[in-house]
């Protein structure tokens, strides 16, 4: 079937070959049918995760205000971990304290870490300079839940099993029953006010007269809530409340904010599920909310503008988040979140279904 080519046929074939090559090249570059330049809006950056593997049940997390350390209450192992965050994250020290540490607070003078134990009626006092236990404070309550240091010598402690909190005066360790309802506790920057988020209301108490009195302000929220986190902004102006409805997970979709001055309702930060925790920058301009639920693309810590209360940025995290499991460093450069990565549950390991690691996120 082969036949002698004419000059015209040769030219035709040469042209055809050139066109084929051009078609391939054009297709791979800028031919209209194969343009691949349109892009959706990218709301988040996909970077590698910076994770310190711990596998611990972290019940509370607190940043040292001065030193480059993060303190983690390791509920399952009866310990408080000191994480060195100055370079690559590492467990710097571990103190085994007693049964189930559940809440942490640092004294206003910033030199003592107070630890509430849920599994025994004691508080432990850690000296932050030496990271050693320097005192133990017995409490009459059972099932401790939270504590707050109003001053270096005046602590308030709440328990799941009691209706009201007790206060402790140091160094004598005198205990006094208070009129303050049990719940998650906060103290104002000057130490003269106590804020309590209990199951259905936020209340404020005055300590300035020497006797505790309830202020007229209160903020009810109308249902029996589980308090995931209760945070005072570093400037002392805003209270952030993370509520959850254990009977209906769709009921709560926001983190609520109140004025610390008069408990007026000042903002709603919508993350489409109950908030797990909140971290706030020093000047209050950046509010970071850890949600309970994942988005279709993953779990994100959502940053809000403190002034407009609008979503501003998204930070992808490597797993489910935890109540009270978020902290911001002293320079507002990094967030730290407790994460439960998928895939490490439901194994044959005993008691491992509450296994959290620590993720560090560089803020944009």
């Amino acid at each position: 079937m082969k036949r002698k080519m004419t000059e015209t046929t040769k030219i035709f074939y040469k042209l055809l070959q050139v066109m084929m090559m051009l078609a391939i090249v054009a297709g791979s570059t800028r031919c209209n049918l194969y343009v691949n330049s349109e892009a959706p809006t990218n709301y988040y950056e996909f970077t590698d995760f910076d994770i310190l593997t711990l596998g611990k049940n972290i019940s509370d997390m607190l940043m040292d205000p001065v030193q480059p350390y993060l303190y983690l209450a390791d509920y399952g192992n009866n310990a408080v971990l000191r994480i060195d965050i100055s370079g690559e994250m590492k467990v710097d020290r571990k103190l085994v304290l007693g049964s189930h540490p559940i809440a942490l607070d640092i004294t206003p003078s910033q030199n003592k870490l107070i630890v509430a134990l849920n599994g025994e009626s004691n508080l432990k006092v850690i000296d932050l300079a030496t990271y050693t236990v320097v005192d133990e404070i017995p409490v009459s309550l059972v099932g401790l839940n939270d504590l707050v240091c109003a001053t270096d010598a005046h602590l308030f402690v709440s328990a799941y099993t009691e209706a009201n909190v007790v206060s402790l005066s140091l160094p004598g360790k005198q205990e006094q029953n208070e009129i303050i309802r049990s719940g998650e506790l906060l103290a104002s920057v000057d130490g003269n006010k106590i804020f309590v988020a209990s199951k259905n209301i936020v209340q404020k108490y005055d300590l300035s007269s020497g006797n505790t009195t309830q202020e007229a302000w209160s903020a009810p929220f109308g249902f029996q809530a589980k308090i995931n986190d209760f945070v005072l902004s570093p400037n002392g102006e805003q209270l952030f409340l993370c509520l959850a409805d254990v009977d209906d997970h769709k009921n709560v979709r926001d983190v609520l904010a109140f004025s610390a001055a008069d408990l007026t309702f000042t903002g709603k930060y919508e993350v489409k599920s109950a908030g797990m925790g909140v971290a706030v920058s020093k000047d209050g301009s950046r509010v970071f909310v850890a949600p309970t639920e994942a988005d279709g693309a993953g779990v994100f810590v959502v940053e809000f503008d403190g002034a407009t209360k609008l979503e501003k940025d998204y930070y992808l995290v490597a797993g489910n988040l935890k109540a009270k499991g978020i902290a911001i460093d002293q320079n507002d450069e990094y967030l730290y979140v407790a994460i439960d990565s998928p895939g490490d549950d439901d194994s044959f390991e005993p008691y491992n279904n509450n296994s959290f690691d620590l993720q560090r996120i560089k803020l944009h």
Partner: protein
């Protein structure tokens, strides 16, 4: 192996099996963590029929049977039907979209390469309605069909050089319209360069495959995230002539460059097994 040559009255019957296990997420060209531990098994078993109607024209029919299984670990709240998360599987299988093509062989004028021009359609016969175990239809990119009839075009040429057969092919599928759910797949362009050694008993070769896929669109025009990109593969091939008219070969396309839109699961290799039987009437 040499599809550019059409023999009148010859029926080529082929079967092809392709396997791909996607488990490595990348963002652009950068490897990223697989946060949901997601993985996708893609297999396609295809029956290939080519009949030479004349010495110039042939008709090709490609009938694929596809299976797609995607598994991942959900986070809490990521799926309303499985609120607390855990393993979530989506699976679709069955007859894929059939491709029908007419091929025209340009007169072979030695020493120039033989050239084959092909045009046809990819039908929309395959199901696009697969659902998860909760009865909800899942995303289009895991369905075995596209839901739209699209034109396919190909141009290929081959040339013997000493004992080697060199081939070049360009193949494209162009999406014309959205399916019933408003989803429109991106266009595909394949560029293939290959060199084969046609031995008496064994044969082998090396193929370079360039693939460009443009973005998909959903809801009649919205840009879909995480679809489309550019891939380069190199695929060594080893074959055996089982009978005079029966070939059997295996090739392993290995990804040497992948640049995807946003983040996508990728695999570092595929497995392709082919068998071809030539039957002359």
């Amino acid at each position: 192996m040499q599809y550019n040559k059409i023999v009148q009255g010859q029926l080529i019957v082929g079967a092809n099996y392709e396997y791909e296990f996607l488990t490595d997420p990348i963002y652009g060209t950068r490897s990223i963590p697989n946060i949901n531990r997601e993985r996708t098994n893609n297999t396609a078993t295809s029956v290939f029929l080519n009949y030479g109607m004349t010495e110039k024209f042939s008709l090709t029919l490609l009938v694929p049977f596809r299976s797609v299984t995607n598994e991942k670990i959900l986070f809490r709240g990521q799926n309303d039907d499985q609120y607390n998360g855990g393993k979530y599987t989506r699976h679709a299988s069955g007859l894929g979209d059939i491709v029908v093509m007419f091929n025209y062989a340009l007169p072979h004028l030695s020493p120039l390469p033989s050239v084959l021009v092909s045009a046809g359609v990819k039908l929309a016969n395959a199901s696009i309605d697969a659902t998860d175990k909760y009865g909800k239809r899942f995303s289009d990119n895991l369905q075995i069909g596209s839901g739209s009839v699209d034109p396919v075009l190909a141009l290929s040429m081959s040339q013997h050089f000493h004992k080697l057969l060199f081939s070049a092919e360009a193949f494209t599928r162009i999406s014309l319209r959205e399916n019933i759910y408003g989803y429109k797949y991106g266009n595909e362009l394949h560029g293939i360069l290959s060199a084969d050694y046609p031995g008496d008993m064994f044969y082998g070769g090396l193929r370079f495959n360039y693939l460009l896929v443009t973005r998909d669109h959903y809801q009649y025009g919205k840009i879909t995230r995480e679809r489309g990109g550019t891939w380069f593969y190199v695929a060594p091939k080893l074959g055996i002539k089982v009978l005079d008219d029966l070939d059997f070969d295996i090739s392993i396309p290995m990804a040497i460059y992948q640049n995807v839109n946003e983040s996508q699961l990728t695999s570092s290799y595929q497995i392709q097994i082919n068998t071809v039987y030539h039957l002359t009437f």
